[in-house]
């Protein structure tokens, strides 16, 4: 039996280490990783009050002295399969909007790893605990590619030729390494209050490259060095530290409450930005280099949690959290948001748990665009896209040996929203580079039917992302 479990773990690790990539949408926050406690992940990430999972100490430092066991170690793997589909509105001949034609579909897996440990000791009614963890907070990895094909008729079983390849590559995950301490006071067998403090450091290099590469087919269709490639790069480092204060109290055998407060943290973002478009014809290379040095703000977060342990033949725990995120700390255009988490754990048969959860997390994408004001001055316009991520989760556990448990948490979420086309169509208008009055019939095989204009917000992409995630953790507690 153990061999099967070992095989499962090894398989998970192999799968995890082989692949990486993730959503390209939020260039500010990347992709935020929620709780690393696999048990709580299966319960909708509602774990502000958590007296079992080792990684609960990273969600709320007060959980350390709340723990049922005195010592704990945990290693976790977090896998996410991201599917990104971008579509154009599709119209019938009566100009009747039918639906969306997907023009780009990317599917990748990404992985992150984390570890945590704690120890607590009681002196009479007073408990003291210490813990440490290392976990991903923001993941900036991305791997997006998009074919640009010409408009050759395809009714003769001939594929339209690829004329350019667009790509976005992102690397780097902002890891959080934290130390947590907790003080608890025992009021009774099933009642106590705990206060915790967490200090963490964050530091990592992030890079993001956006590129357009004309294919050899396109380059050979016109005079040499006519079609310019484009590369836009952000390389920067984010560093700084964050604090968290937490309280947790078990009121009686039935109820527990908890809260955390993360004050606004100002991290440093330093690095460089470059834009390069190759020379073409008589036009010189366009090269912009600049440095990045700005504050990177993590917003204030307040989270309240609640746990309920009723009498139930399928031994049951119900957790619910509400989180208030003050995004307005970052930019006035952001609205503060409320996120909701809830989950339940039932012991089905032979004490095997079945966990089920739901969460509704709101994202906001801040988009900066250039525009002209009434006096024809160039200004920056900010647009915020609010996108809700509803998520369902499920999970279970296997006791591998005494005190060693493998927890598995699965999640599925999707989001649907409008977004600007990331690579404007005007770039593929070869008239711009050749100086000819029409597009080349060698590149655009039916040039009379193509209008290469960059779409604006009047006709945006419809984006649909699907994420299937697995949170696997092995913990040893005693």
């Amino acid at each position: 039996m153990l061999s099967h479990k070992t095989l499962l773990i090894v398989t998970l690790l192999i799968v995890a280490s082989a692949l990486s990539a993730w959503s390209v949408t939020d260039s500010y926050f990347g992709n935020r990783v929620s709780t690393l406690d696999a048990r709580i992940y299966g319960m909708g990430s509602a774990g502000t009050f958590n007296n079992m999972g080792v990684f609960g100490i990273a969600d709320n430092p007060a959980n350390i002295t709340l723990m049922q066991k005195n010592y704990g170690l945990s290693a976790n793997a977090f896998l996410n399969r991201n599917e990104d589909n971008r579509a154009l509105p599709f119209w019938s001949q009566f100009d009747y909007y039918l639906d969306d034609a997907v023009y780009s579909s990317n599917l990748h897996l990404y992985d992150n790893y984390a570890g945590a440990g704690y120890a607590k000791h009681s002196f009479g009614n007073i408990g003291i605990g210490l813990g440490a963890y290392h976990k991903p907070l923001l993941n900036f990895e991305a791997d997006y590619s998009e074919d640009v094909r010409n408009n050759r008729n395809t009714n003769d079983d001939v594929y339209a030729e690829q004329i350019a390849l667009n790509s976005i590559r992102g690397t780097g995950t902002l890891y959080q390494s934290g130390l947590a301490a907790s003080f608890g006071y025992k009021l009774g067998d099933y009642s106590n209050v705990n206060l915790g403090f967490d200090f963490s450091m964050l530091d990592n290099d992030i890079s993001r490259e956006k590129a357009i590469r004309w294919t050899d087919f396109a380059k050979e269709a016109v005079a040499p060095k006519t079609l310019p490639d484009m590369t836009e790069t952000d390389d920067y480092n984010i560093s700084g530290n964050m604090m968290k204060i937490g309280v947790a109290a078990q009121l009686n055998t039935r109820f527990g409450v908890a809260a955390t407060y993360i004050p606004k943290a100002t991290l440093e973002k330093e690095g460089s930005y470059s834009y390069k478009r190759d020379a073409y014809g008589t036009t010189a290379e366009d090269l912009i280099n600049s440095t990045i040095k700005e504050d990177y703000i993590m917003p204030t977060e307040i989270r309240l949690g609640f746990t309920y342990m009723p009498r139930n033949v399928m031994r049951t725990v119900f957790n619910m959290d509400v989180e208030y995120v003050m995004y307005s700390d970052i930019h006035e255009r952001y609205d503060d948001m409320v996120n909701f988490y809830a989950g339940v754990e039932h012991h089905v048969v032979n004490r095997i748990p079945f966990r089920l959860g739901f969460q509704a997390v709101n994202n906001q994408f801040l988009i900066q665009e250039s525009a002209y004001d009434l006096n024809n001055n160039l200004i920056t316009v900010y647009h915020v896209n609010k996108v809700v991520n509803p998520m369902i989760t499920a999970g279970s556990s296997v006791e591998l040996m005494r005190n060693v448990v493998l927890d598995l948490g699965f999640g599925y979420t999707w989001r649907e929203y409008d977004a600007m086309d990331m690579f404007g169509d005007a770039y593929y208008n070869d008239k711009t580079y050749t100086g000819a009055s029409t597009n080349s019939a060698n590149i655009w095989t039916n040039p009379q039917y193509v209008t290469l204009v960059t779409r604006g917000w009047d006709n945006p992409d419809k984006v649909r992302e699907n994420n299937i995630s697995l949170n696997a953790g092995i913990s040893f507690t005693w």
């Binding site: 019938s92 100009d95 009723p310 033949v313 119900f318 509803p390 649907e416 006709n459």
Partner: protein, 910 residues
Amino acid sequence: MKKFLLLLLALVSLGLLAAKVDLNTATLSELKQLPITADQAKDIFEYREYTKIFTSIFDLREIPSIDQKTLLKIRPLVVVSLYQETDDVAIRRDEIKDLIERLDTNEGSMEGMADVWEDYLMTPQNLNRMHFDDFMSLPNVSGVDAVAVLKRIAQGDTIADTRDLRNSAGLSHYGYTNLRSYVYYQEPPVKNRLMWDAKLSYNTKYFEEGQYDMLREDFTRDYTTGTVPQRQDLSYWGYFGLDEIDPDISMKLRLRYGNNYKVGIMNNSSKGEDGLMTSNPKDFINDSKWFAGYENTNMPGLNNSRLKLYAGNYRVTYGEGLVMENTDFYSARKTGFGFSKRILGITPDLSKTQEFALKGGAMEYTHPLFGVSAFVSQDDKDALVYVNRDGTPVKRDEYGNDVYSEADGRQYYKEGNNKIYTYTDGTPVSADKNKVFNYVISSIRWDNDELMEAEDYLNKELTAAGAYAVPYINIAARKDVLREKIWGGHVQINPFIGTKLGMTTYTALYDNAHIVVPEFDEMLSTLLRTSGDQDKLRKAMNGEISTLYSTQTDSYSRDYRRVIGFDGQTVIGNTSIQGEYAELSVLGDDLKIGDDPKAYLMSANTQYENLYFLTLLRHYDVDFDNPYSNSFSEHERFDGTMFDGNVYSLTNSTIADLYLNGNQSQPEQGVYFETRYKFNNFFTVGRSYLDILERLTDHRRSVRFQSELEFRPLFQVSLRARYKNQVNRFDDMADRGVSKTNEYTLAARTFLSNRDFLELEYRYNTVYAPPYLSITNTAATGNNNGTAAQTLMIGDYIAANYTHNFSSSLKLQGSFLYWFGHGISHWDWEDMEIDFMGEKGSKAWIAITSRISQNLYMNLKFRNKTYQDKEIRIRRYNDPYDSSLLGDPIYLERVEHSENTIRFSLDYRF
């Protein structure tokens, strides 16, 4: 001495017993005194606290850390006392938990009625004091059942218990089984105390197909002459960014003390509307529904009378719903029998309905011999309003003129191109009433400012696109624009048991509006965007639109709508007969029968132990336009009019909400028969009906028939065959013929142990139909006509449905379904919602109900539905020589949608 020794022995035994540790009451420290480890003591304590109360000492073996040796060691030292639940509410809730779950699953279609029935389940009524209407308001209890019980009581008998009830002569099996859960006999099962129910639900639903089409309709289309702009932002869909997931969130809180004092509040925000976080407190309260009520069924000094007083939002239903039954939702074939019931009288209202909600005060006083109730309401209703180019409502004066304002404030009306500033008597032109087209239940209740900004944006493009019959949006929805005051009431006498005669009336006063509906001749130019569509849509059933009620016509100008009706019911033997007659006051005398638009309904239900037979006759005049009427009908109003499937033609596509969310019956007349017959334990003819009807606007005649045969060779196995047939005949339209629908369904069901359930179902449909009038042209040379496009469509689906109960705390339900419609749509009833399935696709859903504790329920459902959009075949006339088509039809297909839906709810009842 011997006696003393025995006494001593008994005392010693009691002492020894008393020294034993009771596993069901011991504290943790007491358990730690046993010769076991501290961890084992904790495990025992937590088993009792978190899993279950000990029923036997051998339950200890279910705890992993307690082995047989430990059990034997502590066995002499412990006892297990008998545990009995003493909380009467907990006991009652456990008794009725299955019924509550069933009501919860039907809540989506019941518009808050489930709440009322849940209250009756928790705090039942005293059977020996119930009135006839109390019985009639309970699900699946008939008038015959009510009379059977009431006659016994009237003879001085007192029904003592459930078994006694069963012995009532004339009470049907189904009446008895449903009635027994809603009543008590001597002592109520729950004493008066504070009870509350808090519910939160989150639902990421999608719009229905018709709503999608309406919201996505582009405002710059001029396909007859111009270019196709193809801009998403020129539709409401694109302008408001409706691609994004935007959940419906509702919160409900009800508190009551016994059945006497009740309060509640509910807020619901749907996709596209302001939610809790984005609306200000004033709007939040304005959009919420609330009530406070007092009920007393045991009035001091008044023999067997009952009083209800409600403030806030309440529901009112009388008779057969012809005069008054306030709801936003249309429900086909609502007979008022079986599970298709009405709750009569005044009830609190926390349903999601908004448009026909009543807000104010209501009272009801009933006695076995008579009843009286009255209500007043003032609420601002949403309406479709005629608007000027700047979005402001068009004003109307008392003489029926559209009145405009100059910048300096002077008002004028137009005669040709002349502006008239004064009336003939010299007084200045004056108008302060909005010109309203009709009430509207909008798919999205946008705020007026947002909507006007959107219209302004869309209007600019309309101008740019070319010549239209109406160059701007001239009719638009406005939130809370129609101030409606309602007063009404109902009086009833009950001369004999089971017999009642009642009269109902209401008057809706419009303080700030004239409701104006264009005459038939003006209708097309008012509602259609391009004159090119007028010829086509002249053929649609638009009589239903032009006959809507106006408060201002060529004949009169008034500021109210009044409906008066009479209803009655009697029970003769095992037959219950009931009916209602209603008139909308237009030109006739209020109290003279037959001089105004009318509607009537009469039904008779005969029941035997294993058979019932229902006959229902109804007639609704075309111009009987009563928005508060929700009686039996086969179709909703505006079915087949230009609002149905012709959104692209309308000056504003959202006018189609009148059809898409319409709540009123279609003007029709017909006779309906329904039966169910159980031959024996093996064979049952399930609910079967035949409806023969005529739509009164175009005299389309239809026959609809459905029957079901169930064969149950074993209790656990059921085989069902169902057949449905519908024929619609357009006798008076030369270019439309007959449509015929046949539907065959086979289902095999197994009822497994532990209430588990598995079903396989196959359905096959054929539809032979003429095309919609709107996509055909007149039968001129080179044009097609209806005959040429008669189509036979064949569709089918296969489904597997299952339910698995892990225990009484955890239930899993789900379904897989694959369908291929070929133009035919299917309807599927899921756990709580009805789903519409067009063309072809597949879907799977899973719903998990977790009963976390006796009081707390969590429900989580996930559904994926992947389907293709409609196939569109466009024949550009029937011209085989059309060089642009080369003889082929234009053919679009394979547009795929994938929809995920999550529904999450938490319900805490205490």
